[in-house]
């Protein structure tokens, strides 16, 4: 027996020695490799702390876009399942605090994935709801009944004014990617850097924690004025409601650009139809329910893409008569016109087998340059273009920036170099003749508006911009945008002369509807027949400025295909501009300069402007009128 016991003991000893050898071998052969593998597979439990995307504000600091913190409710099945007695109480507390959570679903998740540690139960609950639940867990009594629930912070983009300046601001998609507008152009400045809460293995192989705070994004302060923007959008909307018929709004598109001609900053930029920034993927309000249902996904996407467009920046069109001031200005600047010429309008010009007609088919008769602008006579302008010559015309068109991107700090400016004629093409008289009154070439609103500013501000072509400066999240200015003069287009003498003509247009010419009692307003109307010609579709517009000396504001309004039988009247655009002027001029503190109302206002179809009765300027104005 003893011998056998010794044998057993020896066998055991041998086996022990073999196992020790095995251990030593594992350590010797793969120790370092395994150590690296272990370090590599540590998960350190790191968690991203999201940064807050910067705000977009108007020039006075009114917040137009902001990011608010919201919270995702996360369920840790493993923890909750190991606290069996707390499951039902936790579910009932969750259900009471977050009605959007389906309590039966939680039971399903717990049963199906008992070990899963990350399940999102609810997305984007508000800070208050989160706080209330956290209070429950911190409470001694209720807290002991809750397990396995935690919150994940996230930011959600919010636009306090819903659709205000929608296409100008743009919106963001998940992951803080700007779509369109300022959100897209200044995406980098608005975004910050994520922070991280993580563990790491130090030199003693202990896991330590560290927190790197996130860097929040910068605030972009735009040149937009919320009050002006609101007035503009209200008037555009009112117009489209006023002329709505057959279930269609008052126009295909209505857009308005308000700029400060003294520095090229954009005060307001609006278009219709527009969308709600807080719900950018919805076609509600633009299409009827039945129409939306009939759309395929691709059609819906197309419709959305059209809706998101910023008409003032991305759409090209034939400007029509609003271009006439440029033709006259280039004539004056080159000395080919003195301003005292007279032209005879017989209703058309016969060029290369075409009869290019004037607005008045019977002819305006004899007109001087001022009269040609006041009556918007095509015939006279064509005759002027002959004097200017194709080379001057082509050079000045480019000097004003037509055919080029303006470089405004917004995305989506199209290439327009192929949409204007070059010197060679302008040699054909028909091309230059039609160009002289704004047909047969395309422009964008921002191009024409920017160039027009240089006509009224003394000849300085400013870089148009919508952002004034950028601040960090502590409010320090990190980047400031000073006005940039890009080109000198005209001499001061020419611009003074041009302003004189343009004032006459509003005082006694085609632009009378846009005028406002008491103000010296200059401007030019436009009524452009759209392609294909002869279908009766027009793009009507008006561009004007106030006051005569050192103009403070330029307003440009385009109504694309007004929803009326006879579209060829710029009054539709003028109405809107008139109403806008009436409200923004007192707001901007531009004093009335004309004490006397010299002519009766043309009959207005528009409803009286709401602000009229309240503004002191108007009261004063009325008083003066009474004295007369």
């Amino acid at each position: 027996m003893q011998r056998n016991l010794w044998i057993v003991f020896m066998v055991v000893c041998v086996l022990f020695v073999i196992l020790i050898g095995r251990l030593a071998y594992i350590e010797y052969a793969s120790g370092e490799k395994y150590e690296r593998i272990i370090l590599a597979q540590q998960q350190y439990d790191s968690q991203i702390i999201p940064y807050q995307r910067g705000d977009i504000t108007d020039v006075r600091g009114t917040v137009l876009a902001t990011s608010v913190d919201v919270y995702n409710v996360i369920l840790d099945c493993k923890v909750l399942n190991s606290n069996k007695d707390k499951i039902e109480s936790t579910i009932s507390y969750l259900g009471a605090s977050f009605p959007q959570i389906d309590t039966n679903e939680i039971r399903g998740i717990l049963a199906d994935n008992p070990k899963k540690q990350y399940t999102v139960l609810a997305k984007k609950v508000s800070y208050e709801d989160m706080r209330n639940f956290v209070k429950l867990t911190e409470d001694e009594e209720t807290g002991s009944k809750i397990a396995g629930i935690w919150f994940e912070k996230e930011y959600q983009r919010q636009y306090p004014y819903d659709s205000l300046a929608a296409s100008l601001l743009g919106f963001t998609t998940s992951g803080n990617v700007g779509m369109g507008g300022v959100e897209m152009y200044y995406n980098k400045e608005l975004n910050g850097t994520n922070g991280r809460d993580y563990g790491y293995v130090n030199s003693d192989n202990n896991v330590e924690g560290a927190v790197v705070e996130p860097e929040n994004g910068n605030t972009v302060v735009t040149t937009i004025d919320v009050n002006i923007q609101t007035i503009v959008e209200r008037e555009i909307k009112a117009f489209n409601r006023r002329y709505a018929r057959d279930g269609k709004p008052g126009s295909k598109h209505t857009a308005m650009l308000v700029m400060n001609p003294q520095d090229g900053s954009v005060l307001a930029m609006a278009n219709y139809p527009t969308y709600n920034l807080n719900d950018p993927w919805s076609l509600k309000g633009v299409y009827k329910k039945s129409e939306r249902k009939a759309m395929s996904d691709d059609e819906k996407m197309d419709a959305l893409n059209k809706l998101w467009q910023n008409f003032c920046i991305t759409t090209t069109y034939e400007p029509g008569s609003t271009f006439k001031p440029f033709t006259v200005a280039m004539g004056l600047e080159t000395g080919r016109l003195s301003g005292n010429e007279s032209y005879y309008c017989d209703g058309y010009e016969h060029i290369a087998d075409y009869n290019v007609k004037c607005v008045n088919r019977n002819g305006h008769g004899m007109l001087d340059v001022r009269g040609a602008l006041m009556k918007s006579c095509n015939d006279a302008l064509m005759q002027m273009s002959y004097a200017i010559g194709s080379e001057n015309f082509a050079d000045y068109q480019r000097l004003f920036g037509f055919g080029q991107r303006t470089g405004i700090d917004l995305p989506g400016e199209p290439r327009t170099d192929s949409l204007v004629y070059d010197r060679e093409q302008l040699r054909h008289t028909i091309n230059m003749a039609t160009n002289s009154f704004g047909q047969n070439f395309n422009t964008t609103m921002i191009q024409l508006g920017t160039a027009f500013c240089s006509i009224v501000n003394g000849g300085e072509l400013y870089l148009p911009h919508v952002v004034d400066h950028i601040c960090d999240d502590a409010g320090n200015v990190v980047r400031s945008f000073e006005p940039v003069v890009q080109k000198k287009t005209l001499s001061r003498e020419t611009t003074t002369q041009m302003k004189d003509f343009l004032r006459s247009v509003v005082e006694a010419g085609t632009g009378a509807v846009a005028g406002v009692d008491g103000y010296d307003i200059g401007g030019k109307t436009g009524t452009a027949e759209k392609l294909p010609r002869g279908t009766g579709n027009y793009l009507v517009s008006f561009i004007g400025y106030v006051p005569q000396e050192e103009p403070q504001v330029v307003v440009y309004c385009v109504v694309d295909v007004p929803n009326v039988d006879d579209q060829a009247h710029s009054n539709y655009a003028q109405e809107i501009v008139h109403n806008v002027f009436q409200q923004i001029l007192p707001y901007m503190g531009i004093e009335p300069t004309v004490p006397v109302v010299q002519e009766e206002m043309p009959a207005q179809e528009s409803a009286p402007v709401t602000a009229e009765a309240n503004t002191p300027e108007n009261t004063q104005q009325n008083g003066e009128t009474a004295n007369e």
Binding site: M1, Q2, N4, L5, W6, I7, V8, F9, V12, C13, L15, F16, I18, L19, I20, R22, L23, A24, I26, E27, S30, G31, K33, Y34, E35, I37, I38, L39, Q41, Q42, K78, V79, S82, N83, A147, V201, D204, N205, N206, V207
Partner: protein, 373 residues
């Protein structure tokens, strides 16, 4: 055997000096305390995650240990001889419970191994090990001479087959340990080695049949050879990483990274890998030497026991401990396919630690019977 009888009769005359194996007690206490420290180190993180109580596993282990130490005291007071007439009863009880667990047991994984008495769970296969030790010790001490014939050895081995079948149905590794205990005890008892060649042949055939019969077991062979290719090899592989990363002297007590959820169920069968990671190859060798010292004490006690029953009880216990240590470390080092064998005194397992302490109590009781001349 004649010499033994002479010794015993002389011992009866000199009853003055009572013996107690304090060495064994010291080793048991040391291993037990070390086991608790390692169990806490390994399980605290997981216990906090799962139960919000880092002491969860330690508390349960301590509770079972209290019962075990109660057993030690009782056995030291009562001696071990009363076990002999009850050996058949133990055998039948273990058999009944092992069959019962198949039907009324609670499953953890694919096999049902636990019987619940209210909040207490109990693993009958642990009882089966002790029952076999007592039963065989009793049988060998009654019929030592018969075992000189190798055919009787084979017959004796067949006595435990009825118990082996239900145990193996549920838990192959425990069945292997029981068979190993029986094999070892009979080997020590019999001078004729021919029997063991037969038994080994039968055993080998049985194992091959069993492995090919049950799908999940043949999978284990492939996982053993290529743990990196299998999802189920994850535990083995992570255990190896733990061993390898420990180095010569380890990362330090409590500093294991693999116990932080990476090695699944680290507090059970894989605890030795965490010992290696924290204490290194040096620590692991120390632990193995502790077991060796314990086995050495068993051998001393068995060689000097007052009667054959006591002697074979201790031999059975010794083989039991040796087998579990060898199999566990072999599994952890991926020397053999993965089977669920716990490391005595260190692994988490209430039933296991309780019956191990009972066995220590029996061995101490046997040691008390030794009379020093």
């Amino acid at each position: 055997m004649a010499g033994k009888t002479v010794q015993l009769s002389r011992a009866r005359k000199i009853r003055s000096i009572a013996y107690f194996d304090y060495g064994l007690l010291a080793i048991v206490m040391l291993l037990f305390a070390f086991g608790l420290v390692m169990l806490y180190s390994t399980s605290a993180y997981i216990a906090t995650l799962e139960f919000e109580d880092s002491l969860h596993y330690l508390k349960r282990q301590l509770l079972a240990s209290v019962l075990g130490f109660g057993g030690i005291l009782a056995l030291n007071a009562m001696g071990y001889r009363w076990l002999k007439p009850l050996s058949g009863l133990f055998y039948v009880l273990a058999f009944v419970l092992c069959v019962a667990v198949i039907f009324i047991g609670t499953a953890q994984g694919s096999s049902s191994r636990w019987i619940y008495f209210g909040p207490l769970s109990f693993q009958p296969s642990e009882l089966a090990k002790l029952a076999v030790i007592i039963y065989l010790a009793s049988m060998i001490s009654d019929s030592a001479k018969k075992l000189r014939d190798w055919r009787n050895v084979v017959r004796a081995f067949f006595h435990i087959i009825p118990l082996l079948v239900p145990v193996a149905y549920n838990n192959l590794s425990t069945a292997v340990i029981i068979a190993g205990i029986a094999f070892g005890m009979l080997f020590v008892a019999s001078p004729d080695y021919r029997a063991f060649i037969v038994i080994m042949a039968i055993g080998a055939v049985g194992i091959v049949l069993f492995i090919s019969g049950a799908g999940y077991r043949s999978d284990r062979i492939d996982i053993w050879l290529h743990p990196e290719n299998h999802e189920k090899g994850y535990q083995t592989l992570q255990g190896l990483y733990a061993i390898g990363s420990g180095g010569m002297f380890g990362k330090g007590l409590g500093a294991s990274m693999q116990k932080l959820g990476t090695v699944p169920e680290a507090q059970n069968d894989m605890i030795f890998s965490i010992v290696c990671e924290e204490l290194g190859v040096f620590g692991a060798i120390c632990v193995i030497l502790m077991y060796l010292l314990m086995l050495w004490r068993f051998m001393i006690i068995a060689n000097n026991a007052r009667d054959m029953f006591g002697s074979y009880l201790v031999i059975g216990i010794m083989i039991h401990i040796a087998l579990q240590v060898i199999l566990n470390i072999a599994v952890v080092t991926n020397t053999i396919p993965n089977t669920g064998v716990t490391l005595p005194f260190i692994s988490y397992g209430g039933t296991s630690v309780m019956f191990l302490l009972f066995e220590m109590g029996i061995a101490m009781a046997v040691s008390r019977g030794i009379r020093l001349g």
